[in-house]
Amino acid sequence: MIFSLLDELLIFSAATVLVALILGRGLAVGWMVTILYGGQLLVLIKMAALGYGGDPIASELSLSVMGQDLSWRFDALSWFFALITLVAALLTSWFSCGEWERKFKQQRGNVWLFHLAMALNVFTMLILLASGDLLSLFIGWELVSWAGFLLMAVAGGVATKAAIRYITYAVVGGMSIFGGIALVYAAAGSLQYEAILIAVEKMSTGQLWMLVLLFGSGFGIKMGLLPFHLWQAAAYAETPGPGSAFLGAISSRMGLFAILLVLVKLFGIVNIDSLKIPFTLIDARDLLAWIAVFTIIFPTYTALKQNDARYLLAWHGIGQGGYMLLGLVTANSLGAAGGLLHVLNYAACQAALLMAVFAVMHRTGTADLNKLGGLVARMPLSFLVLLTGIIGLAGLPPMNGFVSKWLVYRSLLEDGMPLLFLGTIIGTLGTILSVYKLIHNMFLGQLRVEHEQVREAPWSMMTPMLILAGTIFVTGLLPGIPLTWVSAALQTIGLTGPEITLGGIESSSGSLDMIWVIGVLFAGFGIGAVIFYSAGPSKRVHQLDNYAGGHFLTADVRYQYSDNFYSGLMHLIRGWYRGSFQWLENSITSLVEFLSLGMQGIYRRANSEFYLLSTALFIIAWVVF
């Protein structure tokens, strides 16, 4: 039997899991699995033709279960997501090697379980991405869910609680997807994509609505779409460092992948467009777009309130998912490209940001934004990485996040959707506010006495962080490179990409050329520097040599503004945080508890006469009628 490249990749990935499982307690396991991730990435690069519109690669393996054919294959869309997954896995695993691992062991962390969970996550994600029909998609989906649970629960304690909350949501999501699959099977008689594509044309509006809701909410749970977003922040933030960066970068995007595959490719945007909500002007696509915008706004402003750097970023992770979905449901060439490109751009930014935060945590032991400050003097490279990351996350030039968000804005502008556009800008502004709070409270301001001796993060952590920072900049400078892959991926789901140049896009209604924009920006910085530095030398003073309204500052005075950072804003909008989603979750939990208590009561009573009587009555009723 000759293996295809896809088989090679999956076998390589399975081997990584085995190595982590068997040799996981030995020395240098981190380095070993990192090298193996590198090997997987090499195999993926061998498939690079996919990213430029090559033919799909099928796996030699196919099964037949109960008359259902299961198959696996890679196309441009799978390749694009797999590339992000493997790069994220390689770099986060690299980050975990050496010092981080040693410290994790000292803190009684289970390194073996951690590496195993990581390897399992990567393996299951690849299986999901390779799925060739709805059944293999569902199998991959469930595997990914449980692998994610394992990684989230590694740390124990609070993390386990968060992980259990996650898996509850995931199981509900899984059931809803299963329901959807059952409906599809009933309608199409098969779970093969080709058969479904034909069956969709004949489906009634009611059926299609049901399917959109079932699949949308099932996959949306993984993506953290409103109102299913509550599990995500804690689950991701409490995962051990590199795991958190990995999950944060790519895990939720599996939901987006599945949404693209099922809602966009199989059901088709045109069909979704035709689903009107009675008595309103909106259809299912508008509904999705508005869910996306609220997913941008609410989690972003929840992030603004966080005082823990990890939680702040995790909440942003939910919010950024909204931009991707929004871009993709606009389904015009600019928006779809922007949405999909944002998956890559965001993954690079989020991984870099979380790694920088965990590097600080590694050195100082805390991610509490009220207990840090002034670290730029001690950890300048981490500062640089965090700065690159926040500029990218906030979507400002010259970093990559700007390009993808620009595409989304432009598509909304072209479609004439002012309120959605405004929503995205409100989200972006909220992001700018909260990422400034992040960098200010960690790296700027006054350095604390206890952090005087802090050193820069070790090179085992710094190298992957710098690689990511470089990626963020280069994909911002030359967005044409990833946009080519994005275009190929869009074609597989029946959408078209925009006209691409190396520096951006070409469009009759306004182009973008990042090479020029960044060129003049840096030239501007150059001129600014010339003006500034030609003005003679400046004297470096100690941080306590500072204006304090006539008082003298001493080292024990905390001269740092960090708590309630945006007090003026909060004064106005504090009342708007009502915790409605939390309330909703709580009420559902209570309802389930109440019902289960009722069931328990019936069983515990063990009242046999009652059961006999009711059964007899039921039978009589059945016979009579």
């Binding site: 002012p418 405004l422 502004l429 700018i432 400034y436 600014g528 030609s534 004297k539 804003l569």
Partner: protein, 298 residues
């Protein structure tokens, strides 16, 4: 376009912006003086100030980011000017467009925020927190306005937006076609300049001039330069969106100075709002105006 021509344009555009910006600072000070029944500074005072500040013997730095922040604050605007078409010169306006310009204009704020943060002074940090809050306040109406104009023009290319207005004459100017958006834009622009009554982040009586608290010598000089650019960029952007840009330098400059004179004249008549009042004001009146104006455009 020949590369050498483009290069000359890219050099000239920021340079002119700087010179005009200094004159705008002068105008602002003269207007303030007239309102307060003073004579005001001489013609070259802004230039003297910049030279003086850069020439100070004692220059206090709080670290590398403090320096870089000032460089970014100046550099961001220098870059932004090349995306802002002026009579006879388009620079690289067609390679970026309106949205890019809007975002490039945030780079100086980011630089300033970083630089101030490194100063380790809570007054400065509070100032930045307020400045960012103010940005959240005025950017929402501003974005509605920008959306309206870009949608009406069918492009984000500023060169085309200006050309359309000039081709159709006064009747097709943004201010005539979209008066509500123009008013909303003017209010948002006023707030974006950070002048009274929206001066929440300087607030000398409360937070010791906020971001400027640790700035002296060339640091303050850098911010002065930034202010020149800011005044120029804001008013020229407004002129380009609503007043048909400039066909000649003469009408271009007259329009720009007149537009700027409105918020500046109002500024010196009013005391300062509190932060939350600024948010409330910005999110109410200009947003309502903007949305109604937008509804007319759609």
């Amino acid at each position: 376009m020949a590369p050498i021509e483009l290069f000359i344009e890219l050099t000239l555009m920021p340079l002119i912006a700087f010179i005009v910006g200094m004159m705008m600072v002068l105008m602002m000070r003269r207007i303030a003086a007239r309102i307060q029944r003073r004579i005001g500074p001489p013609f070259f005072q802004p230039l003297y100030d910049i030279v003086k500040l850069h020439g100070k013997r004692t220059q206090v730095s709080h670290g590398l980011i403090h320096d870089i922040g000032i460089v970014m604050a100046m550099g961001g605007y220098i870059a932004a000017e090349t995306l802002l078409p002026v009579p006879g010169m388009n620079g690289i306006a067609e390679k970026g467009g309106l949205i890019t310009l809007l975002y490039l204009m945030m780079i100086p704020s980011l630089g300033l925020a970083l630089g101030v943060g490194q100063c380790a002074n809570p007054n400065g940090s509070i100032g930045i927190a307020r400045a960012l809050t103010a940005m959240l306040a005025y950017d929402i109406p501003l974005v509605i306005v920008i959306f309206g104009v870009a949608y009406a023009a069918g492009t984000t290319n500023l060169v085309e937006i200006i050309a359309t207005q000039q081709a159709g004459g006064f009747a097709t100017w943004g201010v005539v076609e979209m008066p509500l958006l123009a008013i909303a834009g003017l209010i948002a622009m006023h707030a974006s300049l950070g002048k009274q009554p929206f001066e929440i982040y300087i607030a000398p009586a409360e937070i010791a001039t906020g971001p400027m608290v640790e700035m002296s010598g060339k640091y303050l000089g850098g911010l002065f330069v930034m202010q020149c650019f800011q005044l120029y960029t804001t008013s020229v952007l407004y002129v380009s969106l609503f007043l048909g840009g400039g066909t000649t330098w003469f009408d271009f400059l007259i329009k720009s100075f007149l537009v700027l004179a409105i918020p500046v004249s109002i500024a010196y008549l009013f005391p300062r709002y509190r932060t939350e009042d600024l948010l409330r004001l910005m999110w109410k009146w200009p947003v309502i105006l903007g949305l109604i104006g937008l509804a007319f455009v759609m």
